[in-house]
């Protein structure tokens, strides 16, 4: 009861819904990340509240919670999420650009961590596929 009250106090329905709607067309995970970051609550608390408000189902909540939120995903949002001015820090917009380049496979994991001045580790980075069927298609179509 107390937890439920606290959740609704910290994460009111309309504000959560607005945040969800802002990011939902990109991905459900990013939208849930935005809820956790903007309302400064844990990943599990954010996912539980989304379920309790009927925005996602129990199954989707379980799938989201199963894979813990990584620092790199919070950086990807491009918003400040750590206690401000905690050294060392990198500007959120810069961090977002670095993560975007990593997502686009233009940076290795090691180089991404270096460019973020070791504020994250490789384990904090969003998971990406090392190779894709799209790449294979290009290779096969390019062959002599």
């Amino acid at each position: 009861m107390l937890n439920s009250f606290a959740a609704h106090f910290l994460m009111p329905r309309s504000a959560v819904q607005n945040t969800w709607d802002e990011f939902r067309n990109q991905s459900a995970r990013l939208a849930a990340t935005a809820v956790a970051v903007r309302f400064r609550v844990s990943w599990t608390a954010a996912c539980n509240q989304l379920r309790d408000l009927g925005i996602i189902g129990s199954r989707e909540r379980d799938l989201l919670v199963e894979d813990d939120l990584r620092k790199g995903e919070m950086l990807e949002l491009g918003e400040r999420w750590v206690p401000e001015l905690e050294p060392p820090s990198v500007p959120p917009g810069y961090a977002k650009s670095v993560i975007n380049a990593y997502r686009a496979r233009r940076l290795t994991r090691a180089r991404t961590v270096e460019l973020l001045h070791l504020t994250v580790t490789e384990a904090d980075l969003p998971a990406i596929e090392e190779t894709t069927l799209e790449r294979l298609r290009r290779e096969l179509e390019a062959e002599p």
């Binding site: 233009r106 290795t108 090691a110 090392e130 190779t131 069927l133 294979l136």
Partner: protein
């Protein structure tokens, strides 16, 4: 004769999967090399994965050294761009450097190294290309090729398909196989 320049990953997983004999069949008609840096990376992992010790005994795969100044400068550029400490991303950097100076096709599976090499106009292919290419050239039949993919997955290699059967079904549906 076209040269295939191997990075660590394809060799590593074909060896762990016990499929180096089939790899040799696939690359017939090509000159195959790997930079000494790649052999060093593989040698360091032999204690943990004894199967990797068989790679250096493959007579079709020759080591090459980055000795010319252009090769060393290219290695420095790629290593800086790929990042990491003194034991990270060395093999990919050496492969990209060698191909950028001498030509040939880099066999690399790691995505960022692939993008960076392609940006520079280098020819880059991955492990799955080798397998399907071998089929298209009639060196492997489909069932053997599918078995190789399954064995690579079992060896711990991450691939964007669940099985060899799924890969070939996709390739036929997409019109990538005759």
């Amino acid at each position: 004769m076209t040269t295939l320049v191997f990075d660590n990953t394809a060799l590593n997983h074909f060896a762990k999967a016990g499929r180096l004999t089939e790899l040799r069949t696939i690359v017939e008609g090509y000159q195959c090399v790997a930079p000494a840096e790649v052999f060093s990376e593989l040698a360091r992992a032999v204690a943990e994965y004894p199967a990797l010790g068989t790679i250096s005994a493959q007579d079709w795969l020759k080591p090459v050294e980055l000795g010319e100044i252009e090769e060393i400068a290219a290695f420095a550029r790629y290593k800086h761009e790929l990042g990491g400490g003194p034991e990270t991303n060395i093999g990919e950097s050496a492969v990209l450097a060698w191909v950028s100076v001498n030509g040939g096709i880099a066999i690399i599976d790691e995505s960022a190294a692939t993008s960076i090499g392609e940006r520079d106009g280098l020819a880059i292919r991955g492990s799955l290309w080798l397998i399907i290419h071998g089929c298209k050239e009639g060196k492997l039949d489909r069932s053997i090729a599918e078995g190789i993919v399954d064995d690579l997955i079992d060896s711990g290699m991450w691939l964007p398909v669940e099985s060899g059967t799924a890969l070939f079904a996709w390739a036929y549906e997409e019109g990538l196989l005759p």
